[in-house]
């Protein structure tokens, strides 16, 4: 199989990747549009939203950063919240690192690294044989563009649409988060417990003034606490499914 793959030119691999990335790119537009509505609520311009999404390329990470920005919290809080919410990319990048053929120029590691997201990683890690960076760029290029465009579109729509509609659209991102976490929570009891604890503890923090902290700090503290406790009590067995969330 590795022999066959070597016959692909960079252009062919790129086109192939582009084609495989189209469904991802369309999904990204929708999620990023919902993020754009929230960016509008905190006063970002379409250009700023475009740049922000292009640079960050992460739904949970970007939402966490938006919470930090809305609270005008310190930069260091944003850095830590990003490390926590994006920590899983460390795992994906190390896995992807094994997919590069020994002869691949270093520059491609810098290029592919920019585009490690849940969906693109799944595409790359399932590529047969060594990963062709050009295949990855094909999927990544259009997806990243649609991701950035979605945020700008969400901000523009938020500025034009009536307030009532914008308010309704503000929950779209939460709806997406729910759609991501609930099905695995149903299948896997440990994940179910993690999600339930997340809801409960997050709510308790808001309820009791003594436990009150900024949204960013709350995300950091509770994520580390819950994921840490879950790994101690019930270490995840990896055989079945490797990457879904």
């Amino acid at each position: 199989m590795k022999e066959k793959q070597k016959n692909f030119t960079a252009g062919e691999a790129f086109r192939h990747g582009f084609r495989d990335g189209i469904p991802i790119a369309l999904g990204y537009f929708a999620v990023s549009f919902s993020l754009g509505i929230i960016m509008k609520n905190i006063g970002m311009s379409p250009g700023q939203g475009f740049l922000f999404s292009l640079l960050d390329l992460a739904s949970a990470g970007e939402y966490a950063v938006l919470q930090v920005i809305a609270a005008d919290a310190p930069y260091i809080e944003m850095v830590i919240v990003l490390i926590v919410t994006n920590a899983r990319y460390l795992l994906m990048s190390t896995a992807l690192s094994q997919k590069f053929s020994p002869g691949t120029p270093l520059v491609h590691r810098f290029g592919v690294g920019y585009g490690v997201t849940d969906e693109l990683f799944a595409l790359g890690v399932n590529y047969e044989g060594w990963l062709s960076p050009w295949y990855y760029y094909g999927a990544l290029g259009f997806s990243a563009f649609m991701w950035a465009l979605g945020s700008a579109g969400g901000i523009i729509a938020g500025n034009i649409l009536p307030e009532r509609l914008v308010r309704a659209l503000s929950v779209a991102l939460f709806g997406m988060f729910i759609a991501i976490i609930i099905p695995p929570a149903r299948k896997n009891r440990a994940v179910g417990a993690v999600v339930a604890c997340g809801f409960l503890l997050s709510w308790l923090c808001e309820l009791f003034p003594l436990l009150h902290m900024s949204s960013g700090t709350k995300t950091i503290v509770l994520t580390v606490l819950i994921a840490g406790a879950a790994s101690l009590i019930h270490p995840h067995e990896e055989e079945e499914e490797h990457h879904e969330a």
């Binding site: 990470g61 460390l90 009532r164 997406m176 991501i180 099905p183 949204s215």
Partner: protein, 103 residues
């Protein structure tokens, strides 16, 4: 606002990039620790749950409309409905309930 929006944006981009690129360039080794792998597996679920609730009920005009969206979303996702469908119904739940409540 004490902090600069553009600095937030550039710094967040830099951090996001480093998290992804360092394992591909400097580290290059698979993470073998079972605890760390397990921790990283649970992190997205914990983070997304913490960020969703109670934020979903404070982002709407009334906690009631947010709560309806949350319940509808959980029920639909539990029954395996697709992500776009779940998200759309959440929005519609807020829109209709706020219209009814006259908000």
């Amino acid at each position: 606002m004490k902090h600069s929006l553009i600095l937030y944006i550039l710094l967040s981009g830099l951090v996001s990039y480093l998290i992804r690129v360092l394992p591909l360039t400097l580290i290059r080794k698979p993470i073998r620790s079972k605890f760390i792998r397990s921790f990283l597996y649970y992190v997205p679920y914990a983070t997304l749950a913490v960020m969703t609730f109670p934020a979903i009920i404070t982002s709407t005009a009334s906690p009631v409309s947010g709560m309806l969206a949350l319940i509808a979303g959980i029920l639909l996702a539990w029954n395996g409905k697709s992500l776009p469908f779940v998200a759309s119904v959440c929005c519609i739940a807020v829109l209709i309930s706020e219209l009814i409540m006259g908000l």
